[in-house]
Every structure is written in C-alpha cells, then in structure tokens.
Symmetry: C2
Subunit: 283 residues, 2 copies
Amino acid sequence: MVRLARVGDRSVAVVAGPSGDHALDLGPRPLPDLFADLDGIRDLVQRTDAETLPPLDPSTLQAPVVPRTMLCLGYNYRGHVPDGVDSTADDPATPDVFAKTPNTFAGPNDAVVVPAVADDVDYEGEIAVVIGRRAHAVPIDEAMSYVAGYTLLNDVSDRSWQRTQSQWTLGKCFDGFAPLGPWVVTADEVDPQDLLVEVVRDGEVTVSQSTATTIFPVAVVIHHLSQVVTLEPGDVVSTGTPQKLAAAQAAHRPVRAGDAVTVRVGGIGELTTTFIAPPGEHA
Amino acid sequence: MVRLARVGDRSVAVVAGPSGDHALDLGPRPLPDLFADLDGIRDLVQRTDAETLPPLDPSTLQAPVVPRTMLCLGYNYRGHVPDGVDSTADDPATPDVFAKTPNTFAGPNDAVVVPAVADDVDYEGEIAVVIGRRAHAVPIDEAMSYVAGYTLLNDVSDRSWQRTQSQWTLGKCFDGFAPLGPWVVTADEVDPQDLLVEVVRDGEVTVSQSTATTIFPVAVVIHHLSQVVTLEPGDVVSTGTPQKLAAAQAAHRPVRAGDAVTVRVGGIGELTTTFIAPPGEHA
C-alpha cells in the first residue's frame, strides 16, 4: 500500500517515518501516468529511508488526480433497517448515477465557497475509486484490476437547487463542490467493502457507517459504468454516501461559511474542507 | 456572420464562394482562443477572395470545440397546445439540466456506435450555444454578450438506460453520444429565438419546430446556468430538443446501425450522423 499525492507540479509518494510523513518525489508527470508502474513505485518506497526525505507539508497537497470524468452514485448505503426486516428488500436493481462537472474539481486544501444563491448546502463523505487503466465493458470478476486506488470526496450539494428539477446536476455542480484528496491509497491491501466511513462536522461525528452496507460493491459499479462510459486512468467513481446518524439528521442545518467538515476513512485518510463566504462580487 | 471550424489540427474560417465553401486557415490554436478577436476574423474574411483559398472538404471537419463542460436542457420546447389553451400554463419555473461527459464528445464526421447493451437509442436535434468568454453569474441582459456562436448537437440517448433510474446520466453518456458540428456560426446576425429546428431521419422530416416555442430563451439559460457553473470559452450549452412530429412519434423505432439522422437549422447548417454497429468486441 502506497500513498500517492500531488504537491505543486510534482507527483510524490508519501512515506511515513518516525517523525511523520515525508515526500518522495516521483517527477512532474501526473499520477495517472504512473499507475502503470505501481509495483516499481512500491519497491522504490520500500528501499527509501523516510528520514532522508523532506517532510511532507500537508497544506501543499493538491487534488491527487484531475479526472476527465467524475461519476457519482446516489443511494448506495442501506439505511437503518429494523430487526427481522430483510435489509435488501428495497434495493434498486442498478445505481442512480450523476456526473460532477470539471468546475467542481478541487483539492484537499481548497476552501469551498458557499454560493450566495445557495441556501441549503450539504456535505456527503464518500470513498472515491480512482481508475488505473482504460476500462470499457469490463466483467465483474476483472473489474478490480482496473482500480488504481482510493481517495476521499466531499460531494458537496445544494439541496434547494437539487430539488428544483428532476436532474440533480445544478445542485451538485457549483464551482469547487468536489474537494478530493488527500492522496490516492493504492488498492493493494485495501478491502473497499470493509471500510468505516465517518464524517465529523464541527467536532461531532455525523456519519459512521461501513461500506459493508453498500448495495453495489466497487466491482459491480465499475462493471456497470464501464458499459456506458469508457473510463480513463485518473477518472473518479465515487461510491455514494451513508445517511447521517439519526441525531445528526435531527440537528442538521445547512452548511455555512465558517464551517469545517472532515471525511475520514481508516486506511485511506482524512479530508477536511472549510467553507467560506463568496468574495464580494457584484456588490 | 462567420463560420468557424476545425480541420485536422487547424482552425479555419469557412468562406463561401461561387464554387462552394473554402477554408481560410486561422492557425493551430483552438477556436475558443480566437473568440476574443471575432471582429478581426470577420474583417479578414471580408478582405479575402474565397476562390484564392483551398476548397473545404466537409469530410475533414472535426468537432468545432472540445468543451470543458457540456450542459444540456431537458424539456424546453413547448409541445402542441390546442387552440384556446394557455401555451405557457405548464411551463416549469427552471430548466432541467444534465451534463454530457467528455467520452461522449464527437465531431460531425464521427459515426456513433449503437452499443450492444443499448436497445432503445434515440436522437435529439438541438441548437448548441458555444460560450465565448468566461461567464459567472451573468445578468440576463448581459448574457448574450457571452455567446460566441451556435452549432448543432445530436443529443443521442438510450431510453432504456435513461429510464432505469431517476438520473439520465447513463442513458445520455455512452461513448460518442454527442456529435457536434459542423461549425460554429458566430452570434452576430443570428436570432436564436427565431430558428427552425428540423431533423431528417432516413429521408423523412421527423422534427420541425421553431425556437420561438422554447420556454427558456438563450439569455435566460446562460444567466441561470452561470450562477452555478462558471462557463469557460468553448463550453457548450445545448438548448433542448423539440418533440417529434406526431406521425414520426407514432412511427418511431429505436435507432439502429445503418441509420442516418440529420439535424438542420437554417442559418447554422446541417449535422448528419451515421450509426454503426460496435466493432467485434469480446467475441
């Protein structure tokens, strides 16, 4: 398992040492260009003494990949089901899928502007699959070999725009509404169906649910989407969000400037997004 | 009014002469880089004798622009309304909007593969607005100044995939499902609310409706979308499709390999798309 990141115009491997994380330079080429040689990078990391490397400054991390296409799933985590009820009874046959447009793409250190016209902004903590090689109509049992690794997405939405029409596009696609990061954790040693997704808002855990409760495992999702969209290295498929915990749902208020939301998944990392007011435009 | 196109790795102005269309080379830069100097290009075209230029080979035309973002409208043309009924009574307050992903982008000479998994492929002839300069939260009365010109889109869809879920993304986003062209007609002298959109399928006119019947004029659409998505030069906003004529609707069958569909709009041009079978994949 290797962590791959972007710092400035360089790709780096993030290497843990006794004094913290360090950055092993991998050159200027974007991460998707390196996905074909993950074994070589892994060997290089294992041969390197972390303490000989410069320390990683997390505030310099950029989006690990800039996808050509970012596809996201709607309902994928089963909600709370009472004892004795078949938890799969209401599962949809296929996932509901939408796209985030390139104006939404942002990195782990980018603040998200709460648009003046959006009064019901919400967060969604998600595990994002990063595609490693071109995938077209791949069978389910080969699908995982097309995954380079995993990162985190805050699928920011404005519910008021989302609700105005049948299509969610505008609610999902305000500028900067897809902060991604902090790095790509390579797929080896990660079981994407056994991860705990948590969201922390202003110190309180508002989401805590395992990927074991998803309806569509990653392999099924890659298979399904690749029948339609030829996925390219660096493309991102986000796997949906769990529901908020009942208390958090009851106490929910729209995200406002000044809020901070952290998505954290053990084995992948943490993505903290701060929300800010728009610059004084059209004053 | 100037027609701007892409031929190979060159931008060209298409100049009409007595013997047909000719190509005035404008250099390698993509068309959106030239949108800031449309006056200069117009002057150059007017000073040029078409017959001194090489003839334009229409089979070499490529997509005039490769947008960062392509946004499309759902229902925008009012359907047939009986006499005495208020034609605006059921108008939605805001347009339904979806995105076509980059794998769909194609040019006027690209055949569209009818995917093996798609058994209900349909066509939609549309006028596509090409953005001329960065547009963020633009007022309605300034919106038209952000339009570089117009081209044509066949918003190809597979209705069976579109119907499986609430979001239309997968039905709209098979590889190559957004042939665009043949050129960008600059916005001067074009009234986008007074154009006749026609579709011809295998020799029969199946769509014929004026943009005067749209619910959302171009200026309103640009205003609305730019509140969410910062539109960039070369981005495409497609304005929706009229309904098929009643006879065509009654006789409709899914598009199959071997079919040809032409979108034509007087003052813009014609976009003919041929549909082909997939290459023998996974035999």
